[in-house]
């Protein structure tokens, strides 16, 4: 009997092996630069379920997580080694677009090597404090000797807090080392720290938390924060140079959760994907699923991203210097 089982397995095995080139052209791989389960992963998998419909041959997508260095590893792979035939696309942090400009350690990334397909989201990012903290207004936030939580020094929780602190001339202390947003929020709940930055307004709203936190200010505005009259950090900046620097740092958030092709991709392939992306983000079925997942789509096309990034690189040196200072 065991022999029979073996024989069956062998036959099945051979059949599977022969029919499976995992590199078949009908499957496209979407590589996500973050681990499974996070925000990027959610958006990426949503795209994977829909984008194929707008490409010739209706290919199916397969998602792989390639985390490392805050998507730096994947960005490097896309620039150096991934094939440009359209069989691989990636999703990395939008901050990679301006990383060579703002971060001395990122000079090896080529600004001209990014082949953007499009960005999915454009969300307001706010700083908030817990109800128990007693900090409710911008002035409280500016003057209070409070603790603001952040994870690593390279994370947006830190960058936004540092930038806000420098612009406002605030006196709060940034506590670093939390493992993630959940840990920071737990500490806020316990009253150990007062608040944090880099919170998406839409997720605060969808989780029903707007009643239990004080939204102090926003670093990127959208319709919702305008309606709620949340102060915008740019308005609180002292000089035009500061405002320009803020735009340089925060601007990439307008094309959050962006898709891109490897640097080796030809202009035709880039065009094909951009067209498919534009169609996808207009499709009601896609938008409906996104809404069900609480993923707010506010898309930016690849050409527009190129334009935006171009303006950042054309910034005068004083602005760039001020920007680097602000995120120190």
């Amino acid at each position: 009997m065991l022999g029979g089982v073996f024989r069956f397995l062998a036959a099945a095995g051979l059949a599977a092996l022969l029919s499976v080139p995992s590199w078949a052209a009908e499957t496209i791989t979407l590589k996500i630069g973050y681990p499974a389960g996070g925000g990027f992963d959610l958006s990426g998998r949503l795209v994977a379920r829909h984008l194929g419909k707008y490409l010739e041959g209706n290919p199916s997508f397969v998602v792989q997580n390639v985390p490392g260095g805050g998507s730096l590893k994947l960005t490097e792979m896309l620039q150096e080694s991934e094939p440009g035939d359209g069989s691989v696309i990636g999703m990395v942090s939008p901050t990679m677009a301006t990383a060579p400009l703002l971060d001395p350690a990122m000079q090896h990334l080529r600004p001209s090597g990014f082949r953007w397909i499009g960005g999915l989201r454009n969300e307001a990012s706010v700083c908030f404090t817990g109800r128990k903290s007693g900090v409710a207004t911008v002035d409280d936030f500016r003057n209070g000797e409070i603790l603001i939580g952040a994870s690593g020094k390279a994370s947006t929780t830190y960058l936004h807090a540092a930038m806000v602190k420098a612009i406002l001339g605030a006196r709060f202390t940034i506590v670093t080392g939390f493992q993630g947003i959940n840990d920071i929020d737990a500490a806020i709940e316990r009253g150990e720290i007062a608040g944090r930055c880099s919170a998406t307004y839409s997720s605060l709203r969808s989780m029903g938390l707007l009643d239990s936190v004080n939204v102090i200010l926003t670093v990127v505005a959208d319709a919702a924060t305008d309606t709620a009259k949340v102060p915008l950090i740019s308005d609180l900046a002292a000089s035009q140079r500061d405002r320009d620097a803020i735009e340089l740092i925060m601007g990439t958030l307008t094309f959050h959760h962006p898709l891109l092709l490897p640097s080796a991709a030809s202009p035709e392939i880039v065009e094909t994907y951009r067209a498919a992306f534009d169609e996808m983000v207009r499709d009601p079925a896609f938008l409906a699923e996104a809404e069900a997942l609480k993923v707010e789509i506010s898309a930016t096309g690849g050409a527009r991203i190129d334009e935006l990034v171009g303006t950042y690189y054309a910034s005068p040196p004083e602005t760039v210097a001020r920007a680097r200072e602000l995120i120190q």
Partner: protein, 642 residues
């Protein structure tokens, strides 16, 4: 209750079973953790209604700690981090041809532990919120420190080696980019190391490779002449007899699981330590005492229930897995949090029910297969070892889908084999690795938030007392038993030299780091210096007394084990080469087939088994989890030709 009726509907139960099966598969294969399963199943759950989604997701996450026992017992490799403590006595039992008994005891303990955890969850939910909110970051620091100290004392007969191994593990955990200062600690310019050494590859190397190597030098997993095969039923009987231990360890698991940051690895060791307090009728711990299996297994299943407590009560996830679950629930319109109990009592009931049922079904399925599984222990090692090796290598590759993972596997495989041969406790190193960074993180957070008053908190004083108590008990125990048991071998002075070198290297290289980044590594290195000094003085004293300097009691090098070790160590680069040339499927198949044929199996059987292994690898690593394989030479040629 309406919720219960909902959950008993056929679709829901079907989803539960699907989740359980997925969870069992994920738990069995070392290197794939519960997180992966969650990430895979969560999108599938979007199309379902909330109750079915809960059944599916909780079904999966509740049982990974049930099936992880299988590789732990059979090969000595924990399927997930929670089975690490089970390996010690569980694998020892398998070597004595009592795998069936170990598995039977483990599953029944898992089942009872899981049910008890669900019960505790149900009962304590209303009371726990104020309690959980009372804890502060310094308290978590105290708990992790306690966990670290426990393991060094628990495993192995020589506490000095235990401390040294734990210290080395702690230092290894610091490799990577420091969150505090963004300084690069021992990354040697590799982006790969920015996030630190990968846990999966390290564990598999440290535990898996030496066990496979030792398997190669035996005829089978079970050692020859190890007596009558005892069965699954006896194992179940053992668990029922030790019901007090089961309840105590489940309690420990459920309550500790509720504390954020504690984690499965610490819980299972604490439970093991607890079980060790009484030996019972069996052999000494470490040689197959069934209590050493029952304790950790009941605890780690109860932890699932425990970790749901902060998730449901506060909306704050107890760990990464529950964070994913939280996200999925929110997508379904269920917002866990303080309002959960009032507004969504039915959902809470559904979750507890799923947890309990999943444990029952999972344990039931595993028990049903236990008989067959225990016979694996008698299968020839030329069949089992290559199969195990293939899965260990592929499991390590899952860490970051990079060739470097396999390099880490190889390096730590060698380290693991050396440690095993020289009787250094590997679990101490593993736990030091898991907890080291956690201790540093909690320390800096406590420091930034509380400053000096961190150390004045009651939790710290309690931990200090417990620690002092442990040490005293250990020392006095040794004094009392001094006559009956041989005291630990003095060891050679070489042990001290090794520790001195590690400590010295760290201290020298840490000088270039900013103060915040250098603090903990340097402190640990100083601690290692103290340990090394103690080792040296002990060795010198023994030499003076015994007159035989440096007579480290190493077992005579067994030629067979040397060959087996070499075979395994060579097998890894060979497989890697195969991966790069022809791809994962042919490599897996060929490695298994070749080893079987060389071991004396017929050609057909070897090829067939090889094909079967390749099929399973494809199903799991291509279909279930899409693994980003490196582009093989064959693939490149193929795409050029066609």
């Amino acid at each position: 209750m309406a919720a219960l009726a909902e959950m008993l509907e056929p679709l829901r139960l079907a989803m539960l079973v699907v989740g359980v099966c997925a969870g069992l598969v994920i738990g069995v294969i070392p290197g794939i953790g519960g997180l992966f399963g969650m990430a895979l199943l969560i999108p599938l759950s979007f199309g379902l209604d909330p109750y079915s989604a809960i059944a599916l997701l909780l079904g999966m996450s509740s049982v990974t700690t049930t099936s992880d026992t299988i590789p732990a017992v059979l090969i000595g490799v924990p399927g997930t981090v929670g089975a690490m403590a089970t390996v010690v006595d569980g694998h020892a039992l398998a070597r004595r041809n009592q795998a069936g008994r170990a598995l039977g005891a483990a599953y029944s303990a898992s089942l009872l532990g899981g049910l008890f955890g669900a019960f505790i969850l149900a009962v304590s939910l209303p009371f726990l919120k104020p309690l959980v909110l009372m804890l502060r970051t310094p308290d978590f620091l105290a708990i992790t420190l306690l966990g670290l100290s426990l393991v060094a004392l628990l495993v192995g007969r020589d506490p000095l080696k235990g401390f040294a191994a734990a210290g080395a593990g702690v230092i290894l955990s610091f490799v990577g980019v420091d969150d505090q200062t963004a300084a690069h600690r021992w990354t040697f310019g590799q982006v790969y190391l920015w996030e630190g050494l990968p846990l999966g590859a390290l564990f598999l190397g440290l535990f898996g490779i030496p066990e496979i190597a030792s398997m190669m030098s035996r005829k089978a997993i079970a050692e020859p002449g190890s007596g009558v095969t005892t069965g699954v039923r006896e194992g179940i009987g053992d668990t029922l007899r030790e019901w007090r231990l089961v309840l105590q360890c489940s309690g420990i698991g459920a309550l500790l699981g509720a504390l954020p940051g504690v984690g499965l690895s610490v819980v299972s060791w604490i439970a093991y330590g607890f079980a060790r307090r009484r030996r019972g009728d069996g052999p000494p711990f470490g040689e197959g005492n069934i209590r050493g299996v029952i304790g950790p297994e009941s605890a780690n299943n109860a932890t699932d229930g425990g970790s749901l407590i902060p998730t449901i009560a506060l909306g704050i996830p107890g760990g990464a897995g529950t964070a994913l679950l939280l996200g999925a629930l929110i997508v379904h319109g269920i917002v866990p949090g303080p309002h959960m109990l009032e507004a969504n009592a039915s959902v809470t009931v559904a979750m507890i029910f799923s947890l309990a049922m999943a444990n029952v079904i999972g344990a039931g399925l595993c028990l049903a297969f236990s008989g067959a599984l225990s016979r694996v222990a008698s299968v020839g090692s030329h069949i089992i070892a290559p199969i195990a090796l293939v899965f260990v290598i592929l499991g390590a590759f899952q860490s970051s889908a990079s060739i470097h993972d396999v390099v880490v596997l190889l390096c730590f495989g060698v380290v693991g084999m050396l440690m095993k041969a020289r009787e250094w406790p590997r679990p101490a190193l593993a736990l030091g690795f898991v907890l080291g960074e956690l201790v540093e993180r909690n320390f800096f957070l406590s420091w930034q938030i509380f400053g000096w008053s961190t150390f004045l908190r009651p939790s710290f004083l309690l931990v200090a007392l417990l620690l002092a108590g442990q040490i005293l008990w250990h020392l006095s125990g040794r004094g009392r038993r001094g006559g009956a048991l041989p005291s630990s071998p003095p060891g050679s002075a070489w042990n001290a030299v090794v520790v001195f070198t590690i400590a010295g290297f760290v201290l020298v290289t840490a000088r270039d780091l900013p103060a915040g980044a250098a603090l903990f590594p340097s402190a640990t290195a100083f601690f290692l210096l103290v340990v090394a000094a103690a080792m040296l003085s002990r060795a010198l004293l023994a030499a003076r007394r015994g007159g035989v300097a440096g007579a480290g009691a190493t077992a005579a090098a067994d030629p067979a084990s040397g060959r087996g070790a070499a075979a395994v160590v060579l097998g890894i680069p060979v497989f890697l080469a195969g991966l790069l040339i022809v791809g994962p499927l042919p490599s897996s198949g060929l490695l298994v087939a070749a080893t079987m044929w060389w071991g004396g199996e017929g050609r057909t059987r070897s090829l067939v088994t090889g094909a079967a292994v390749a099929l399973v690898v494809h199903l799991v690593f291509d279909r279930l989890i899409s693994t980003p394989w490196p582009r093989s030479l064959l693939e490149t040629v193929w795409s050029v030709l066609f």
